[in-house]
């Protein structure tokens, strides 16, 4: 495609506006994420962090009312959620859904094979699938028993979040959006989950880490930090911005934002 040495951005968000139930939440987001980079999205409750994450994954009910989102140079917005996933977008849910009657193994295998098929790879049989997934579970400190349990049903908060990271490690996305993956995690689980994420960091994979707290970013050190307030990015900086926020809170930025508006 491009003949210059400039790398094509993984994600390019321009002037993105989105509403939920008719209420505007995102009011002009601009964001460029290069390959291999980790960007953190921080901000107070209600600032639009989770909305941005869900809009990128294509969740029904999150209506884009303006702007563009390009993923690897292609328009992402017309794509159905499954097509986004196959193209390489992954959302680690803030509240992973419980699915009674569907085992975790069944679910993961169906997902992996759908994506492998899209990539022109052969489907994995049950044996190869188990070999692959059991190693990855061990690395995340997950009991293999969780494979036979219904998806997320009766999982503890920590198990649910680990399960999200497990799916990410199995599906190997190009863009991983982590929506408050740290919420509800104790310090040990936080370390394990972060190690899982860090192990996946590579030149071909970018991360958008949505979080309320700086804590997670001590483990997953971002290249850039953006602060969202009132549906806009009001400040961007390097990892030290997260520490500054931890110290000062969000209040001063919101005040600045109001003054600017």
């Amino acid at each position: 495609m491009s003949s210059t040495l400039t790398l094509q951005p993984v994600l390019e968000v321009k002037n993105l506006h989105a509403s939920v139930n008719g209420t505007p939440i995102l009011r002009g987001i601009n964001l460029t994420l290069e390959p291999g980079k980790v960007h953190a999205i921080m901000g107070p409750n209600g600032s639009g962090k989770s909305t941005l994450a869900n809009v990128l994954a294509g969740r029904p009910g999150y209506d884009v009312t303006g702007g563009t989102v390009n993923f690897l140079g292609e328009d992402l917005l017309p794509l159905a959620p499954e097509d986004r996933a196959r193209a390489g977008v992954f959302l680690a849910f803030q509240y992973p859904t419980e699915i009674p009657g569907v085992s975790n193994a069944q679910f993961l295998k169906a997902a992996l094979n759908a994506i492998r098929q899209h990539r022109g790879q052969e489907k994995l049989d049950a044996f190869d699938f188990l070999a692959l997934v059991k190693d990855k579970m061990a690395a995340l400190g997950m009991s293999p028993k969780l494979l036979e349990r219904p998806v997320n049903e009766g999982f503890s908060g920590g198990e649910k979040k680990r399960n999200e990271i497990l799916q990410m490690t199995v599906l190997e996305p190009t863009l991983a959006v982590l929506d408050e993956t740290d919420s509800g995690l104790d310090i040990d689980a936080l370390r394990v989950v972060s190690e899982g994420v860090n192990a996946l960091r590579s030149s071909g994979r970018s991360f958008l880490v949505v979080t309320h707290y700086q804590r997670l970013l001590s483990y997953i050190v971002p290249d850039r930090v953006h602060v969202l307030a009132g549906g806009r990015i009001v400040r961007s900086g390097d990892a030290s911005l997260a520490l500054e926020l931890e110290e000062k809170g969000y209040g001063w930025l919101e005040d600045q934002n109001e003054a600017a508006a």
Binding site: E82, T97, I99, F107, A111, P150
Partner: protein, 427 residues
């Protein structure tokens, strides 16, 4: 008085039927015949048929089937419908007649099979409480009964599979297979009954199965109603249970013009237990009905009903679940649960739970849900790359998993799982 012009074919059939057999039988048949001519097939005014349309049946000029020409039957179709992957003793019944030529030669140890005029102890099974038009027809036109006896203390390792087929050789025939199981005390057996049709227009199969479960016997009873589009099947299972006996019913009903399974269980003596786990599936214009009556007539009896329906297209499901606890049936435990999943805007699911409790020291509960696929779960699957249609199938299968999970036997679970998958895979 209502006229039954719609069912005049059946009324004529009953009027001209000449009852044969011993005098007690002739008397019962004539009585049922007169009653049928007065009442006809059930209408929506009867509670158990409130959501069931029988009008298509009334348009048929139903007649009794000609004796089946065994050589002209589609044996390959029969073999497939007989679940060849399942190890079982197979008995084939076509248009109500046991066909020894198509059945396994070897009869399991402790088992006797005979087809004949009803045995004298069948009399009490011919006057069911609350008989409806189908019950009356079964009695009025009763011909022969296939009686299968399992002696005392017999444990069969392989199930007995009775394939109850409608041949379609006589167009719009009414076949009335009648089967009587007597399970001896302490015996433990699995019986599968498959109701199948060999053509798309096999008329009405009005089947009746009666089961006497002796002291401490355990029966795993699997009823598979698999109709084809133009056929109607009404299958009635009536169970009488003695002390300490255990009935475990599993049912699969896939839709056709009408596929209806009625289960009446009477827990006649203390410590008897019955459970029934049913799944009914329908699409297009199909109708599926599950009707269960459990009567607790003795103290310390237990029952569970767990029924589920998956309804797509413009199909209709109906579930009637009744629990009756008689005055003497103290310390009864009865649970009833019904779940329906609607996959389309035009599908409908009807549930009628009904508890009649005349004893005071009992624990009874019931619950009914009707819902659609969970939007959040659908998005979750899609966000992992699973296509919408596939995601719907995965979730629908998940809905049915509770029903599959109730089956102890792995081989049986595989068979039912395959039936479910092939239904889900069909358009």
């Amino acid at each position: 008085m209502m006229s039954h012009t719609a069912h005049s074919g059946l009324a004529k059939l009953v009027a001209t039927h000449v009852a044969a057999g011993p005098p007690w039988l002739q008397q019962l048949q004539n009585q049922a015949g007169r009653e049928f001519q007065r009442r006809g097939l059930p209408t929506r005014k009867e509670d158990a048929f409130r959501y069931t349309s029988l009008t298509d049946l009334g348009n048929y000029d139903l007649r009794l089937p000609n004796p089946v020409a065994v050589d002209s039957l589609d044996r390959d179709a029969l073999r497939t419908l007989a679940l060849p992957e399942l190890e079982a003793h197979r008995l084939v019944v076509v248009d109500g007649r046991w066909i020894a030529d198509l059945s396994d030669v070897e009869v399991p140890l402790g088992t006797t099979i005979q087809q004949a005029s009803p045995p004298p102890d069948f009399e009490r099974h011919l006057q069911p409480k609350g008989a409806d038009g189908f019950d009356l027809l079964r009695t009025a036109l009763l011909d022969q009964v296939l009686t299968i006896d399992i002696a005392k203390g017999v444990i069969l390792s392989k199930p007995i599979h009775v394939i109850i087929a409608s041949s379609g050789q006589t167009k719009t025939a009414i076949s009335q297979p009648r089967i009587f199981f007597r399970i001896g005390s302490g015996s433990r057996v699995t019986i599968i009954e498959s109701y199948v049709t060999l053509t798309d227009d096999s008329g009405l199969c009005n089947a009746g199965t009666n089961i006497d479960l002796s002291e401490n016997a355990r029966l795993d009873h699997v009823s598979l109603v698999r109709g084809t589009p133009g056929t109607s099947t009404v299958a009635s299972t009536r169970v009488l249970q003695k002390h300490g006996s255990d009935y475990r019913g599993q049912s699969w009903i896939s839709g056709s013009q009408l596929a209806r399974h009625e289960v009446h269980i009477q827990l006649c003596e203390p410590e008897a237990h019955a459970s029934i786990d049913g799944l009914a599936v329908a699409r297009g214009n199909e109708q599926v009905d599950n009707h269960v009556v459990v009567e607790h007539a003795a103290p310390r009896t237990q029952s569970e009903q767990r029924m589920a329906a998956i309804v797509d297209g413009s199909a209709t499901s109906s579930f009637g679940g009744n629990v009756i606890v008689r005055r003497d049936a103290q310390q009864t435990h009865a649970r009833q649960q019904s779940r329906s999943l609607l996959l389309s805007i035009n599908a409908s699911a009807n549930t009628q739970p009904n508890l009649e409790i005349y004893a005071d020291d009992v624990k009874c509960s019931h619950g009914a849900t009707v819902g659609q696929l969970d939007e959040d779960a659908l998005f979750y699957l899609r966000s992992r790359g699973i296509a919408q249609k596939e995601a719907e199938k995965v979730l629908t299968r998940g809905f049915a998993a509770l029903w599959l999970g109730a089956i102890d036997n792995q081989a049986m679970r595989d068979v039912l799982s395959a039936l479910l998958d092939s239904w889900l895979a069909a358009p």
